[in-house]
């Protein structure tokens, strides 16, 4: 009898344990916290959304086509924008079947396998470092200058990238070889949102004040808020309370990104595609500073990131958003060095001189630059809120940012210098980019009709 009770007791414990475990897994599966099911941590690019499995995997797993479609859904725009040097269409021709057998460049997961952080190199690449040599090992035959170069040097900063070579191709180096380190005209692009809106609708030409406020009577608005609103671009461009707070006839106290994107859609799209907003794009809770994998301020850990984190509700100021909003969270060496940098000094000098032509270099100048786009055949300049577009590999920054003020060579050499990056470009680059010399030698040989003797 005692023995039976003992056996029954273990049965009860086993059943209870099984039920508890099942309930735990079922709860994880149903909710947003699926960490227990992860085969490994996701890469820096995707870890923020790693618990939302179906974003990449769809409803099933081990389906390469679904995965590929997911990659393309989020990344095709940027690949197109950088004129991808290795697009799928170059590998679908049957004559490349032998190459595809060695390295299937038609699909992203050949090079970028997720959940393998121990094997993930920079740029999220999970292949051995010599992958360029699979197709280009004979490069020295046509480029004798490359003789003896090892595979580690292909993607040295300022040489070659797999996808984006817009600032690195030979003719571009030749064309910009003679540029000075600091250009004579150092002018940053100007935003033109106000002009674009005013051309669309006369109401944005009107400056509003207290008597124009259109909020419902029952909503109490403090004098402080009224003052803040009056001094911002919104009141000065005819944007009244209801423009942001009216949500289908109901007053919204905390308008979210959907309301902001009524007017700032391109900016919102960029934000949602960025490290700051990618969780919101997947209907997850907003990214918290404590979730970052880079060094952040310890006192900022609880902050969540949405539009208002950088552009506060009524007292938004793009200068605050461009420097202080960043430094309130980011605490890596590069960020902490900004206020000791030449860039910051130039910013202060121009600000003190009230220079309308130029506003100096802020964090946003480089990481959320003003870019020109064609929107319905109208050219406009706006702030690219997706910092990924100019971040890694850092040569992506050269054309969109650096070359507004600096020569190509100086820019590439600076971005290849890790010490300069850490101290926020306080100094000049130590190492020369040899690509320019190689390109110019070939250019000279061409002029002399001696190009076939490129043995130097």
């Amino acid at each position: 009898m005692i023995r039976m009770l003992k056996i029954n007791k273990w049965w009860i414990i086993w059943v209870a344990f099984t039920l508890a475990l099942t309930a735990y897994y079922a709860n994880s599966l149903a909710g947003n916290d699926k960490e227990v099911f992860l085969p490994g941590k996701a890469s820096n690019g995707h870890y923020q959304i790693e618990n939302k499995c179906n974003t990449c995997h769809g409803d099933g797993f081990d389906d390469k086509e679904t995965l590929q479609k997911s990659c393309i859904r989020c990344h095709s725009k940027e690949l197109k924008a950088v004129n991808d040097s290795h697009p799928k269409k170059k590998f679908t021709n049957p004559r490349n079947a032998d190459r595809v057998a060695l390295l299937d460049a038609r699909i992203c997961t050949t090079c970028h396998i997720e959940h393998k952080t121990d094997k993930t190199l920079s740029m999220g690449v999970t292949l051995p470092e010599d992958y360029c040599f699979i197709c280009h090992k004979d490069v020295a035959k046509n480029r004798p200058s490359h003789k003896g170069m090892s595979f580690e040097t292909c993607d040295d900063a300022g040489c070659h990238n797999y996808h984006d070579n817009k600032a690195l191709y030979e003719e571009y180096l030749v064309k910009h070889n003679d540029q000075k380190n600091h250009l004579d005209d150092m002018i940053l692009p100007h935003k033109d949102l106000k002009k674009i809106f005013q051309e669309k609708n006369e109401k944005f030409k009107i400056t509003l004040n207290e008597k124009d406020i259109d909020s419902p009577d029952e909503i109490e608005i403090s004098q402080k808020v009224v003052y803040q609103w009056k001094t911002t671009a919104h009141a000065k461009s005819g944007v009244n309370c209801n423009e942001c707070h009216d949500k289908k006839g109901t007053w919204s106290f905390k308008p979210g990104i959907k309301l902001c994107s009524k007017c700032h859609d391109k900016e919102a799209d960029g934000f949602l595609a960025s490290k700051h907003g990618m969780r919101l794009a997947e209907d997850l809770t907003a990214m918290k500073v404590s979730q970052a994998r880079i060094i952040m301020r310890s006192d900022a850990g609880n902050k969540s990131i949405n539009c208002q984190s950088c552009h506060s509700d009524h007292a938004f100021n793009t200068e605050t958003a461009a420097i202080d909003a960043c430094l309130n969270c980011h605490a890596d060496k590069h960020s902490k060095s900004y206020k000791k940098s030449t860039h910051y000094r130039s910013y202060l000098a121009l600000k003190n001189n009230n220079n309308a032509q130029n506003q100096g270099v802020t964090c946003a100048t480089c990481h959320m630059p003003r870019i020109s786009i064609y929107d319905n055949y109208v050219e406009r300049t706006l702030v690219d809120h997706n910092q990924n577009n100019t971040l890694r590999p850092n040569e992506k920054m050269v054309r969109a940012v650096c070359m507004n003020c600096h020569g190509l060579k100086f820019s590439l050499e600076s971005l290849a210098d890790n010490t300069l990056i850490e101290n926020n470009f306080n100094g000049i680059p130590k190492q020369e980019n040899k690509g320019f010399e190689m390109a110019m030698i070939r250019e000279e040989l061409k002029k002399k009709g001696l190009i076939k003797d490129d043995k130097k």
Partner: protein, 196 residues
């Protein structure tokens, strides 16, 4: 000849080509409506369209605007230079567009003297075909080959320099292995592949 699935789909494509007014293949294509067409007819028809488009772009757009009117440049870096794409680039873009659309054929522009070495002959059929069209002016080369486990009908057509811009650009390019092309020379070959 046995009517395969490929032939049926080729029939449909050939009807499309007839409707778009491809000249020079009316007799063979009309017969195809009821019997299907061979990969050779299909390939020849596609090539006729390619040559026509390429020649028109080279002469009526690039040749006219660059050499005659002198209003714009044609450049390999046409986006940065705000210029016209070169005729060979235009041809490749078309080929890449077809590749993206999962069409049941592919085509490439190759040469024994390619500017981009990725466009040199690679498969045996390409090597023999390019040599054949160079050694036998006016002739095409047809064969079958297996690539990546799929059997293809492969045709190689001579690509002739038709305008001064073709010749001057190739002769002067930094990466060209041949600098004495003349108008009328076979500068390369168009390779069309159809899975069979």
């Amino acid at each position: 000849m046995k009517l395969t699935k490929t032939h049926l789909s080729l029939s449909a494509l050939s009807i499309g080509l007839i409707l778009t007014g491809v000249s020079g293949c009316n007799k063979e294509s009309t017969a195809s409506v009821s019997t299907g067409i061979t990969p050779k007819i299909m390939s020849d028809s596609l090539h006729a369209v390619m040559v026509a488009d390429r020649t028109v772009y080279t002469k009526q757009v690039v040749g006219r605007l660059v050499k005659k009117e002198k209003v714009i440049k044609a450049s390999e870096q046409f986006e940065d230079d705000k210029a016209l794409p070169l005729p060979a680039q235009m041809f490749r873009f078309g080929s890449e567009h077809v590749a993206e659309s999962n069409a049941n054929f592919s085509y490439s522009l190759l040469s024994l003297w390619p500017i981009n070495k990725q466009n040199s002959a690679k498969t045996e059929a390409e090597k023999i075909g390019l040599k054949h069209i160079f050694d036998n002016p006016g002739e095409n080369y047809y064969t079958e080959e297996t690539l990546g486990g799929t059997k293809y009908f492969t045709a190689v057509y001579p690509d002739v320099g038709v305008a001064p811009v073709c010749v001057s650009c190739h002769n002067e390019h930094k990466d060209t292995p041949k600098t004495d092309f003349k108008i009328g020379d076979v500068m390369g070959g168009v390779v069309i592949r159809i899975p069979i």
